[in-house]
């Protein structure tokens, strides 16, 4: 026990003497929390549209006016050649082409129906889909306007109409930042827990001080605890900095209790520290440990549901997600920060992360023994 205290004293001294680590600890949360939510904005807006109007009728002009007056669309050009419009798309100057055929208005009046053509740059499928949907809904609105103007519809509904009242709970303003920021906190804690701890242990291997420790009567578990406890504390410090920054800049205050967040983070850190320890037993140089950690973190983060929803992943990816501690934490952070979930609500997550902590740490210690 006394030996452990001396180990801890040494670790803390080294951490506070290492400007690189301190810089990571304080700059990383700031950069990540400032940049990522700003950059990671999936909202579709400013769709660049190019209109090819072969009709040049009052109706077509009214439609174009209606489209450009919405916030979604930005008119790039109003031309009379599809080939020219296509060039805009090729040069990435336009995302959408709306082609109004000749005799659009005439057909509408005479034959009661008329067709518009839309061509969408679909390289980015999501954007194309949403942009197309917006444009269609604008056209539909326009259609209804025409109908009510030109035809006297009876006052009362002729047919049953179901009206839909939709509400967006927990995030009524539909802010994408509210969605991203809690997830980024997870990223920060994971980097400190898995990444820095692995590099730190391997650093002692590389410089040879680990061998010196091995000939002292210090037990393996004491050494491991001496390494893990400081990073456990640092992880919680980074969490605190992160929560502070998200309050300061984004005005995000967790709806749920801070106790819930800290309890889960504390358990989560034990699990990822085990992961870092495991990585350090495989790597003999810092370059290796960095590469292994980066590789694992990339896969875990991408499949962890930070950017895309886990439910839409294929079964094999969803199965993998069950073994991905990051996905549990992202889930929990969003639940507690946005919805105010309590410890009772997240009991399943708590239990699973506890299992992770046990499994990863036992695996790491087992591998540690095997290799010495």
């Amino acid at each position: 026990m006394k030996a452990l205290l001396f180990l801890l004293e040494k670790e803390f001294r080294q951490v506070f003497r290492n400007p690189a680590i301190l810089r990571i600890l304080f700059i990383l949360p700031v950069i990540q929390l400032l940049l990522l939510p700003l950059a990671a904005d999936y909202e579709v807006k400013n769709v660049k549209i190019c209109v090819v109007d072969y009709d040049r009728s009052p109706a077509s002009q009214r439609l174009v006016h209606k489209i450009t007056s919405t916030a979604y669309f930005k008119l790039v050009d109003f031309t009379d050649s599809y080939a020219k419009a296509l060039q805009y798309v090729e040069y990435d100057k336009a995302d959408l082409i709306l082609q109004i055929p000749a005799a659009f208005e005439k057909n509408l009046v005479r034959e009661n129906t008329s067709t518009l053509f839309i061509a969408i740059n679909a390289v980015n499928g999501v954007k194309a889909n949403l942009g197309g949907a917006y444009l269609r809904s604008v056209i539909q609105d326009f259609n209804q306007e025409l109908q009510t103007e030109l035809i006297q519809l009876p006052r009362q509904n002729l047919h049953p109409v179901i009206s839909i009242a939709s509400s967006n709970w927990y995030n009524p303003l539909m802010s994408y930042r509210l969605f991203m920021v809690p997830g980024i906190q997870v990223l920060l804690i994971t980097i400190v827990g898995a990444f820095l701890s692995a590099i730190n242990i391997v650093n002692e291997k590389e410089t040879g001080t680990l061998e010196q420790i091995n000939v002292t009567p210090i037990r393996k578990y004491q050494f491991v605890l001496g390494k893990l406890i400081p990073f456990w504390v640092l992880g919680l410090v980074v969490l605190t900095i992160g929560l502070f920054i998200s309050w300061l800049i984004y005005d995000i205050v967790p709806v749920g209790s801070l106790v819930t967040i800290y309890v889960f983070s504390a358990l989560y850190l034990i699990a990822v520290l085990g992961l870092g320890l495991l990585v350090s037993t495989f790597a003999s140089t810092q370059q290796q440990s960095m590469l292994i950690s980066l590789f694992l973190m990339m896969i875990f983060i991408l499949l962890g549901g930070l950017f895309t929803s886990i439910e839409s992943m294929p079964p094999w990816a969803q199965a993998f997600t069950r073994f991905n501690p990051i996905s549990y934490f992202i889930d929990v952070m969003r639940m507690v920060v946005l919805k105010g979930s309590t410890l009772y609500d997240i009991r399943d997550h708590l239990f699973k992360i506890l299992l992770f902590g046990l499994a990863l740490n036992s695996l790491a210690i087992w591998n540690y023994r095997k290799r010495s």
Partner: protein, 245 residues
């Protein structure tokens, strides 16, 4: 009294036998030199005795404890220093001494008095609060040796401790070793330098994983009709089949 006793100790890495069936005893207070070309197996043998590496077969007891059963008791009673070891560079001299004293279970007042004694002896009083990084190599090595003996171990293992050190510092380093031996500490040292071999009470020469010769320097020189240990070593090492390194 025997402090180290080794019987048929063997270490294999796959099909390669690094240490091949070695047997010897070391008496308390001896300075025991371990000589051999690069790759002869001396570092592997030493690492086994320190509990850093598990033997494939054979028996050994160090400081009265069995290598297999009481590895941790052994660790309390030995000190170890390798050429690679150079303390924690980002801690100060005082902090390094405190750390190693602490993990060997010294009391705080013991640590304090040892620290004062140690820096005075090494004439490091002025730089006690500077980082080890800033010390010249020779000073680091002397400090490392002193720190390795901070808990007054029964045996101290030194793995090529004077590599890359200038002759004057080497002399000072050996003065520290003699002082330790006078206090009753057993010194087990591997070296490349033949003049250092002359300082040892007894010398073992390893060739291809086996102890080829073991005796006092005087007896060895007489036996091989050599004028110094260098010649003895060359005669034995010539038989080696393994390449250098």
């Amino acid at each position: 009294m025997k402090v180290i006793s080794v019987r048929n100790l063997t270490k294999r890495f796959g099909s390669f036998t690094a240490v091949d069936n070695i047997t010897f005893d070391i008496e308390q207070g001896e300075i025991f030199g371990f000589l051999g070309a690069n790759g002869a197996g001396k570092t592997t043998a030493m690492r086994m005795l320190c509990g850093l590496s598990r033997p494939t077969s054979g028996e050994a007891s160090v400081a009265g404890y069995d290598l297999y059963k009481n590895a941790n008791r052994i660790k309390e009673n030995i000190g170890y220093m390798s050429q690679k070891f150079s303390l924690y560079e980002d801690l100060t001299i005082r902090e390094n001494i405190r750390f190693y004293g602490g993990i060997y279970g010294l009391s705080l007042s013991d640590i304090r008095s040892k620290t004062n004694l140690l820096v005075k002896k090494l004439k490091l009083e002025d730089s006690i609060n500077s980082l080890v990084k800033s010390l010249p190599l020779g000073w680091k090595q002397k400090l490392a040796l002193s720190v390795a003996m901070i808990h007054d171990p029964k045996i101290v293992f030194l793995d090529e401790p004077t590599g890359g050190v200038d002759p004057i510092t080497r002399r000072e380093f050996w003065t520290l070793i003699f002082e330790a031996a006078d206090r009753g500490t057993t010194v087990f040292v591997t070296t490349h330098y033949m003049d250092e071999a002359e300082y040892c009470n007894r010398v073992a020469i390893m060739v291809d994983g086996q102890v080829e010769a073991l005796d006092t320097t005087g007896v060895l020189k007489a036996k091989y009709a050599a004028k110094d240990m260098g010649e003895v070593f060359l005669q034995l090492a010539r038989k080696a089949k393994r390449g250098d390194g």
